[in-house]
Symmetry: C2
Subunit: 193 residues, 2 copies
DNA sequence: GGTCCAAGTGGTACCGAGTACCACATGTGT
DNA sequence: ACACATGTGGTACTCGGTACCACTTGGACC
């Protein structure tokens, strides 16, 4: 009962997961998101339809397969920041975190662009993206609260920070390399009105 | 071929629509959103399931039946604002619009609370809410752009404004009357960091 | 009034997402 | 080698949503 990470089972699972993700993105690239069924993905990945749903809660989730990594980064980068009490301080902190996160997200520019294209074309995926941001927002607010930040600041800072991020994504459209600077500019514009 | 608004047909349609909304909210109050099927709603409203989908694009939409009015208000209140060029100016304008919109939205506090409760309990409805905000954000950005506002400001101001609104909603939780002041406070906190 | 057309209605049949259940196979510890 | 746990994929189901259908009804015109 050692449950080692290196077991054959674990490796097989990772392979199946990777196969599903690869198959899905191939099909999305070919026919878009809406015109691909879960059965299609499962078939190309050579697994049962049932198995797909064992790895991904729903069809949207496979398009956010990197989400886990991003969330982990977010978690670690926000967990041990020094306490702040004013909105200006909070935004100054989040500015740096947001810039770093941009670099993480755009590490693979091709992947980032595919993802953005999918988001632009599919409202259901935008929904999912918003849901993700919502979760990150809520967690960040709780982190701030736990560090003694006043409730008004703890609620406002994350929402504003994500507003800056979203605006920067809108502005840079198809140029991931420009994203960090755009985010920085958004925070700066806000800090000196 | 006069197509008058007062025709029997129009009145019947309005009645059917109202019946569906009433039936839906009754059932949502009884069993929540997820445990109510469209067939249930149609049955209680005494219409066919097909008819439901003729009035509402999907199950979520019936929970946002007021959306149209709010969007119209939003449209008229943002359409003819004087042009601005700086972020501070844009946010100052949006502060007033947002406060007014709060009053519109909370005009019927009971309804507002029911709606908020549904949103809190159902991720799918939060998705829908975000989608609505997204649309308003995009339209506002386009309006600002059309009025000659610089792109960076036009993209950032709406996102930040909605961030203030969302933070205010979070903070006031179950007290609609406090919403306008909370929104004002959020904008003020941002204007003087 | 009667007639005709447009528009609304509801039924049937269908598709795809997602779930529950079950027999089967495969990795793993002993 | 054995037994158990775990993953697999198939079947059957529910529900959201769409397409198409025949049927009814309101409204315009005579």
């Amino acid at each position: 009962m050692l449950c080692r990470m290196t077991g054959l089972r674990q490796r097989k699972q990772q392979r199946v997961r990777a196969d599903i993700v690869r198959a899905a993105f191939e099909l999305f690239a070919e026919r878009g998101f809406a015109d691909v069924t879960v059965a299609d993905i499962a078939e190309r990945a050579e697994v049962g339809r049932t198995t797909f749903f064992r790895y991904f809660g729903d069809k949207q989730e496979v398009a956010f397969s990197d989400e886990g990594l991003v969330l982990d980064e977010w978690q670690t980068r926000t967990a041990d920041l020094p306490p702040v009490t004013t909105l200006a301080q909070a935004l100054a902190q989040l500015r740096e975190v947001a810039i770093d996160m941009c670099r993480v997200v755009t590490e693979d520019p091709r992947r980032f662009l595919v993802h953005q294209r999918l988001l632009r074309a599919n409202p259901e995926l935008r929904d999912r993206s918003h849901r993700k941001f919502d979760g990150m927002c809520a967690r960040l607010r709780d982190t701030l609260l736990a560090r003694g930040t006043p409730p008004a600041v703890a609620a406002l800072a994350p929402q504003v920070a994500f507003g800056c991020y979203r605006a920067a994504v809108e502005l840079t459209e198809d140029d991931p390399a420009a994203l960090p600077d755009a985010v920085a500019a958004a925070f700066d514009a806000l800090a000196r009105p």
